[in-house]
């Protein structure tokens, strides 16, 4: 296995282009790659460590958006004041992300490219309407996150391309994150979701819900939110609409029915509380 640590994007493209794309693996935080190798996944011919690429670093705040470099670690997200002010759900997801040692290492770009249906930072990013900035030999392009991830572990990233950053439009709405694991820490989500919302006169004037671990990729519960916001449906009446947007499976963590039930239980409780009902049940 050849190892390189390019110092610039130009160097990266040069090194990545020098070998057949199938043999190249990109290494960022390594927190997902390394357990795979340890468990027998074949090593690549060429490992390109992108941690030294300056173009992928930093958090930039602009008037209407915030741009988070792909190499930003989960811990850096937790510590960033602009993100703390504007993107509560993302910070809450980062708080519940594995343990300190992993948070020091795992990157937001890695979370995007892994495209795990249960990835903790993904529901907030979906709910915020994040846009993924991609850089490649042919230049830059941007893709809405929803289009970027196409399935479990699948993205539209072409060979040689890298996620450079993720851009979050500044939001005037509040947001929150919920995660259910099978224990209190270091758990992979059995269900997670993020909500952005605004309440006016006891009803939602804005609502977006992204749910994880209930479908091959994170899903926006648009059928439900549309009913609640545009059609004035009650939470009780509308909750069954969640089933239109999710397709959970049985796995070793939990059965599909459990994911379905819990998502609806906690979502209904949370939405009621947001409307100030207090009595979430």
């Amino acid at each position: 296995m050849k190892y390189n640590r390019p110092r610039s994007l130009a160097q990266y493209f040069e090194q990545a282009g020098a070998v057949p794309a199938a043999g190249v693996t990109v290494l960022a935080g390594g927190t997902d790659l390394m357990p795979g190798y340890e468990n027998g996944r074949p090593l690549p011919v060429h490992l390109l460590d992108i941690k030294a690429l300056p173009e992928l670093r930093g958090i930039v705040e602009r008037d209407h958006e915030i741009e988070i470099g792909a190499l930003t670690t989960i811990e850096q997200i937790r510590a960033n004041s602009a993100i703390n002010t504007l993107f509560t759900a993302l910070v809450e997801a980062a708080d519940q992300f594995a343990g300190p040692q992993i948070r020091h290492r795992a990157t937001i770009g890695g979370n995007l490219v892994n495209a795990s249906p249960a990835g903790d930072t993904l529901p907030p990013l979906y709910a915020y309407g994040a846009v993924v900035k991609i850089t490649g030999p042919a230049g830059e392009r941007t893709v809405p996150l929803e289009e970027f991830i196409t399935g479990p572990g699948q993205t539209t990233l072409a060979p040689g391309e890298l996620v450079q950053s993720v851009i979050l439009p500044k939001l005037r709405h509040r947001s929150l994150f919920y995660k259910l694991g099978l224990r209190q820490a270091m758990a992979i989500a059995v269900v997670n979701f993020a909500i952005t919302y605004a309440v006016k006169n006891g009803a939602f004037s804005h609502l977006a819900i992204a749910a994880g671990a209930v479908a091959p990729k994170v899903v926006l519960l648009d059928t439900l939110t549309e009913a609640l916001v545009s059609r004035g449906a009650t939470i009780d009446d509308a909750m069954h609409l969640v089933d239109n947007d999710i397709s959970p499976i049985d796995d070793l963590r939990a059965p599909a029915d459990y994911r379905r039930t819990v998502l609806k239980n906690v979502l209904a409780y949370t939405l009621r509380n947001l409307l100030g009902g207090g009595n979430g049940r």
Partner: protein, 764 residues
């Protein structure tokens, strides 16, 4: 208990903590040996079958290949069964579980040995495997061994049938408890090296050095004298390093003797989980007859356990669960039948509690069910039936002393403010809160089934400079054995604890002291220390009398001094030690203690099952999220009668650790198996309690000294685990108002319980 002790009963710092805190402690995986090779097991990938062919071509091409050792090269006996001779060291023909070791790959590096093991191509003729107790029980041919029954035990006392007829109420229930992985943080590992004199030395992470010694001698066809076993610092064991290291030890010793080089083997975690022993999963049927006032009259209990592919320690686990199947209660008429079934799963073996936690779940759920049916307070029901001095256990054993069971119930209630708490819910109804209580009994040491090996020794040696070396036959595996041995030696000899150096266990230093199991270290080693001290003290007194010019009877020894009690003149211990040497006096003494002879009839299960018992009661409080089924244990209050407490800090450490492990067994640790393959094969799927899951614990010691224990002490290591899971289960039942019949109670299962209770529960 006595206020005159210098060390006993006082918090005592761990003697081996500093090296562990600086990284200086060398565990087996940290040790290096010149010219060392690495070994790795080659194991079956089918659950049940016959080996047809073994192809080594690909394996031999791995750089660093040294050897692949198969069964036919074992010079001695191909047998490693510790009680029943059913387990080959290397499976030659038949494989009985995924993980059954067929051969040993040997290479220059650990990675190469591992690679070779994976590249050995084995073809099998597969048989229809048995995974569940029911499948095993219903088999009519193609048994796993000669039969599918690994062992059985029984108790018959009084006339249960007549007593049931007289009972006002009969309550019946069926329970099941899951298996559990030890997940000692240090994986299994051993190294063996041939010495020039022909002796084979085995070092390893282990808790029973004499088991390993016997296993190695047997496999190599050598006398015990040809095998020396030294215990390396051991990173947790919990029973998982009781019999399993005999396999590793014999395999590395075999490899080392064949290639004449040191050979080390360390299991990779996922393989450790697949190959090595687990807690027995149990199915239990309880039927209990009771009078209206709560007096237990009769019980009929059927216990079935899943023994896995080999018997290993199943017969003694099954013995213990049978003898303790009704907990710390008086039941005058009882029948118990217990059977362990072979299946094509990894062997079940020893795990902290050793069959007790399973039956504790059974009898403590029963007590709550009965209390509920009688509309009686569950604490009152327990107090009404609890064992006391002069009462008889279900084996008909009259208890003569140190029966603190009742007091543990009272103290657990007191420190938890049991009376003033009740089941409640959060105002919005999402969370429900409840409390549960569970009491338990634990027979100390090996009991009648293991009396023939229930002796242990020490060797105490006073050095010329006044330091005192202690060799003992049991093992430190993290529980604090070295520390209590130092503490008890200092107390017994009346010396400053800093003089005492306790050596890690070495079969060359002390006679076969049996296994380091059954919470027996304090009792066995403590008594052996007192025995040795009783031989050394007269010598010390005589020497002191000469130095002080007084009569030996006037000399008192204590506080690191020998004192003439008449004049008050003193001589320090170091000077005394030197004087012994100058006078050519004996300075080294062996101590030995064995458990008193036990009178027991295995046919009826009547007699002295164990020589004494420890008791414990835990109260647990839980919060249950009715939307998700998530349970959080908010606290555990633990009262333990372990007789006189030797080291209070050590006792608390044992209890807190035991409660955390039991919390995992009760809630999150769920072994999932797919056709014999464990799919929860590492920490991301097998969920141990983290720092946020382990509950806070308050511990109180109920010190009811046992006259046969050293300074009145009994064991606590396993009792720490036993009542916690049933207390948690009872608390969940109390919080939700539903009955609980199985463990573990994972969130999906708890939510299911809620849905069964009210069809709309859990739905918005």
């Amino acid at each position: 208990m006595t206020s005159t002790t210098q060390y006993i009963g006082k918090p005592f710092k761990n003697v081996d903590a500093e090296d562990k805190l600086t990284g200086a402690t060398k565990y087996i995986t940290d040790m290096r040996f010149d010219n060392m090779a690495w070994a790795y097991p080659i194991f079956s990938t089918v659950p049940f079958g016959a080996v047809r062919q073994i192809d080594l071509k690909a394996a031999r091409s791995v750089p660093g290949y040294i050897d692949v050792i198969l069964a036919e090269r074992i010079p001695g006996e191909n047998q490693v069964g510790v009680i029943v001779e059913d387990q080959p060291l290397l499976a030659g023909k038949t494989v009985r579980f995924i993980g059954d070791v067929i051969g040993i790959a040997v290479a220059e590096t650990a990675a190469a040995a591992h690679r070779i093991a994976k590249l050995v191509e084995i073809t099998y003729t597969e048989y229809e495997p048995y995974f569940s107790i029911a499948e095993s029980e219903s088999a009519t041919s193609q048994f796993i061994h000669e039969t599918n029954i690994a062992c059985s035990h029984r108790i018959l006392k009084g006339d249960p049938a007549a007593a049931f007829r007289k009972s006002d109420l009969i309550v019946e229930a069926e329970f099941s408890t899951g298996s559990q992985e030890h997940f000692y943080l240090e994986p299994q590992g051993c190294v063996a090296f041939p010495e020039k004199d022909g002796q084979i030395v085995v070092m390893g992470s282990l808790q029973c050095p004499y088991y390993v010694q016997k296993a190695v001698a047997r496999a190599l066809g050598r006398p015990l004298d040809g095998v020396r076993v030294i215990q390396a610092p051991t990173g947790g064991a919990f029973g998982g390093k009781e019999d399993v290291p005999s396999e590793l030890g014999a395999r590395v010793a075999l490899a080392a003797s064949l290639i004449n080089r040191p050979v080390k083997m360390i299991y990779k975690r996922s393989d450790d989980i697949q190959i090595t022993s687990k807690r027995h999963a149990f199915s239990m049927r309880y039927k209990v007859g009771v009078m209206r006032d709560g007096t237990l009259q009769a019980a009929e209990i059927t216990l079935q356990s899943n023994a896995g592919a080999y018997a290993t320690l199943s017969s003694v686990v099954s013995y213990r669960s049978t003898m303790q199947s009704m907990g710390p209660y008086v039941v005058p008429n009882i029948r118990v039948n217990s059977t362990a079934y072979y299946t094509n799963l990894p062997p079940a073996g020893a795990f902290r509690g050793f069959g007790s936690p399973q039956v504790a779940f059974g009898h403590e759920r029963m007590m709550d069910l009965i209390a509920d049916r009688l509309d009686m307070d569950p604490v009152r029901l327990r107090l009404k039936n609890v064992l006391k001095v002069d009462a008889k256990t279900i084996t008909g054993q009259q208890l003569s002393a140190s029966v603190g069971a009742e007091e543990t119930i009272r103290q657990a209630c007191r420190i938890s403010s049991w009376e003033t708490n009740q089941a409640t819910g959060s105002t919005d109804g999402r969370y429900r809160y409840g409390q549960g209580i569970a009491a338990s009994i634990y027979g100390n040491c090996l009991g009648a089934a293991g009396w023939h090996m229930d002796g242990a020794g020490v060797n105490i040696s006073i050095q010329r400079d006044g330091t005192v070396k202690v060799a003992f036959g049991l093992a430190e595996m993290g529980q604090g054995a070295l520390t209590v041995v130092a503490q008890m030696t200092a107390e017994a000899l009346g010396i400053d604890h800093r003089r005492v150096v306790v050596l890690l266990t070495d079969t060359n230093s002390v006679p076969d002291s049996g296994p380091s199991v059954a919470s027996r270290n304090v009792v066995m080693t403590g008594n052996a220390i007192r025995d040795a001290a009783s031989k050394l003290l007269p010598i010390l007194k005589a020497a002191a009398a000469e130095l002080l010019g007084c009569g030996a009877d006037d000399v008192t020894i204590g506080s690191d001094l020998a004192t003439d009690s008449k004049t008050g003149t003193e001589v320090g211990f170091a000077e005394l030690a030197d004087y012994l040497y100058r006078g050519n006096q004996p300075t080294e003494m062996r101590g030995w203690w064995h458990v008193p002879q036990l009178d027991f009839d295995p046919d009826t299960g009547q007699g002295e099952a164990y020589f004494t018992y420890s008791y414990a009661t835990h109260v647990a409080r839980v919060q249950v999220d009715t939307l998700t089924g998530q349970v959080q244990v908010r606290g555990v209050w633990a009262a333990h009668d372990a007789g006189t407490v030797i080291n209070p800090a050590g006792l608390e450490g044992q209890v807190e650790g035991g409660v955390a492990q039991a919390t995992g067994w009760a809630l999150t640790e769920n072994i999932l198996v797919d056709r014999g393959q464990i799919i929860t094969s590492n920490l991301s799927t097998y969920l141990l309690p983290t720092a946020l899951d382990a509950p806070p614990v308050e511990t109180v010691a109920v010190e009811d000294p046992d006259p046969r224990g050293p300074w009145g002490a009994k064991g606590v290591g396993e009792p720490a685990f036993i009542p916690a899971a049933p207390a948690i289960a009872n608390a969940i039942s109390n919080a939700l108002g539903v009955e609980v019949y199985e463990l573990p109670l994972t969130p999906p299962k708890v939510l299911q319980l809620l849905e069964e209770q009210e069809p709309t529960a859990g739905m918005p």
